[in-house]
Symmetry: C2
């Protein structure tokens, strides 16, 4: 399949490399910034472009992987292409593409990507959607070549999933960062927490989180909760987070 | 080393098994509830007791692994023992033991234990403390036989560590549970989030969390944040958590 990648961020990069590794023919990488386009294009043997006039119109698939609020603007430039056009956003409706008269789809990988860390696609859930059944078949085949976890989801469900990813990924990572901050101000290394963080996540690989909750709040150990809150007296923002989450644990397990 | 375990909960169970596996001689398991004591004692070839009058006084080490607010009461029953007495609590001062005239120490494994999941001790941080240098040496030797991660920490630092464990373990697990709840009410499976949860934890095994934060709040993507908040209109408690943590991410990354 001839594929054009529009974007050069974390998702575009990981996806382009995975497609290349599966034998797809990634022909062009577009970015507003030619240097960024080149960085990715060189790695996967594609052409880098920074001008829509250079875009080929005959590719089978155009993957728009840019910031949510830039998707519309990129899609508007693709009016002459014949191939299937997808975006990779969890929160954006498919009609941001179809309203431009494009053959439209969504190809949303549910994962947290950093340039700093390579990751295998095998185990990444890919959520797909298309306006036409035959396009959905095309995306399903492609997705199956990348991962064993392919989900056909409409826009509403995809948006719910994206919301839960904030709870399951962005917020926990921030709580790790707050823990690191407290440790640091007490001359303790973050490294000491790493086995605990890993085990906490590993535990829910085979259990439901509600069944393996531990800590003072689920035990209703108000004595320890009060000690912790008083240790955070000089950090009212963290005290607020501690209180809010502890109350929520208590309510959930009442 | 002859060891007596006082307690039969998650920590007592995992610790007793690990000590046994390292060749220590676990001679007795005490629990208020004889059936619970038997359950653990049978597994490790020890005697089960439910009455302090049956406690041997000649063991080298007594490990009190009970609820924090029961430690004092158990310690009060050990006045006649000659060996070292330790507790396994992150939040309890060593003087809950020493005030009873015991040779006192702390042996605190920083991990989340569930009966449902076995876990290797190799990688678990063990935080040790003792009143007397020679007792600290004894605990260090024992701890080193169980894990490569041994930390000598005073009570103040241990309490800080325990507080950060709530942020790095108990709260993230609850956020996983909230995500599961949202998914469930939208007929989506928790399984779809598992690779993301795993990767989020795995990422901070080699990075600092502040360097790998992702999501709408760190991008200051207020449009997505507003969409998410409106999706939570019928769940004010989750809306409050979303708002509190998003604000904290924004402040941290400003």
């Amino acid at each position: 399949m001839d594929v054009v990648i529009l974007g050069s961020g974390n998702v575009a990069t990981h996806l382009a490399k995975a497609l290349k590794a599966e034998g797809e023919n990634v022909v062009q990488v577009y970015s507003q910034n030619l240097d960024n386009a080149k960085l990715l294009a060189t790695e996967i043997g594609a052409d880098a472009i920074a001008n829509y006039t250079n875009l080929i119109s005959t590719a089978d698939l155009y993957i728009i992987s840019v910031k949510d609020d830039a998707i519309n603007e990129v899609a508007a430039q693709l009016k002459n292409v014949k191939g299937l056009v997808v975006h990779t956003s969890g929160t954006t409706d498919i009609n941001v593409l179809s309203k431009h008269g494009l053959k439209s789809g969504v190809f949303y990988p549910l994962q947290t990507f950093s340039k700093a860390k390579s990751i295998s696609f095998d185990n990444i859930p890919l959520c797909i959607e298309a306006e036409i059944e035959s396009d959905l078949d095309t995306l399903e085949k492609l997705a199956n070549s990348l991962t064993s976890k392919v989900y056909k989801l409409n826009g509403e469900k995809r948006k719910v999933l994206h919301l839960t990813a904030v709870f399951a990924c962005n917020f926990p990572n921030h709580l790790y960062a707050l823990a690191a901050k407290i440790l640091d101000s007490n001359q303790l290394e973050f490294d000491i927490l790493r086995p605990l963080i890993f085990e906490t996540a590993d535990k829910v690989m085979t259990n439901l989180p509600i069944d393996v909750q531990t800590g003072p709040a689920v035990r209703d150990d108000q004595n320890t909760i009060n000690k912790h809150l008083s240790m955070l007296n000089n950090l009212p923002e963290l005290q607020d987070i501690y209180q809010t989450l502890s109350n929520s644990i208590k309510i959930t397990h009442k």
